[in-house]
């Protein structure tokens, strides 16, 4: 008879109380995909960087596991650490921030982003996905993080605020501005309004 897998809480307790590294390894195996995918989205597809940050995330999680109070889901707590790692790395690298990206996006939408009329039907999905990824890449850090947490992880604004360590109102503002910029960048994909 197959044994029931331990819950996250049980594994965390074993890791904290008994310094059980096998239990922590199981937690890493369970959550590595979600954390790496989250960081791939935040780093705009830089897979190697995302994996390095994911590794840093789990090492930090191990060091601070004793302070995890289960006020949020373990995965949400990991997203919070991952987001902080990404923000710290982005600041360290002095990543080019586009405070007002609308102008750049307008240029980009005219040149780099593909117009829907030029794309055959079978390639529309993939092209749209590519354009969306590129559009997300030019959002500010806060906007991108808010969009990723709210849409890709399906978190509520309150949960996203916990993950991002910012007020709920700021999260809502980031989401709103991010979507405005995405709309401008992806204008070619918007349905045409016949007047």
């Amino acid at each position: 008879m197959a044994s029931t897998p331990d819950s996250d809480a049980a594994l965390i307790a074993r890791a904290v109380v008994a310094d059980d590294r096998h239990a922590f390894a199981e937690l890493v195996r369970r959550h590595q995909s979600a954390v790496r995918a989250c960081l791939r989205r935040l780093t705009a597809g830089h897979h190697a960087l995302a994996d390095d940050l994911a590794q840093e995330t789990f090492v930090l999680a191990w060091r601070h596991l004793g302070s995890y109070r289960q006020e949020a889901k373990f995965s949400t707590w990991l997203y919070r650490i991952a987001t902080n790692c990404w923000l710290a790395d982005a600041r360290k690298r002095k990543e080019e921030l586009l405070g007002d990206a609308t102008d750049n996006l307008a240029e980009a939408s005219g040149t780099a982003f593909t117009a829907d009329a030029a794309v055959p039907d079978h390639a529309r999905g993939a092209t749209m996905k590519l354009d969306l990824e590129r559009a997300l890449a030019v959002l500010s850090e806060g906007e991108r993080a808010a969009i990723v947490q709210c849409y890709y992880h399906d978190l509520s604004h309150e949960e996203a605020a916990y993950v991002l360590g910012m007020p709920v109102g700021t999260v809502k503002t980031h989401v709103l501005r991010g979507k405005q910029k995405l709309k401008a960048a992806l204008a070619a994909w918007a349905p045409r309004q016949d007047s």
Partner: protein, 126 residues
Amino acid sequence: MTADRTSPRTSPHTPSDDDWLDAALAADAREHGSSYLDDRGFTARVMNALPAPVAVPRWRKPALVALWSAAALGTASALPGVALDVGREAFRLLAAQPVSLPQIAAVLAAIGVVTWSAAAWALRSD
């Protein structure tokens, strides 16, 4: 954390204007969420990157016991008269008290419990 499950998808931001963008984000999120990233040695790399466990030297307990024993013997030998005087005085005080046998037994039991608990705590296995 009390999380309001109000999804941003249901937020009141001009829903009709954002429908196509919401749909695009939702489709990308679905694809993104359904694809599982193979471990490919990631967990092993994380475990190798963890700080090494703190190794407590095996000689710690015997060394501590020896140290405290030496300190106690040193104190007792340095102050023989004082220890004896304190003992005699305590005995005299106790003997002058109208104590019953059950009280003496209770005190001895309490001393035993404290002593053995302290010994068990000091010699516990980590």
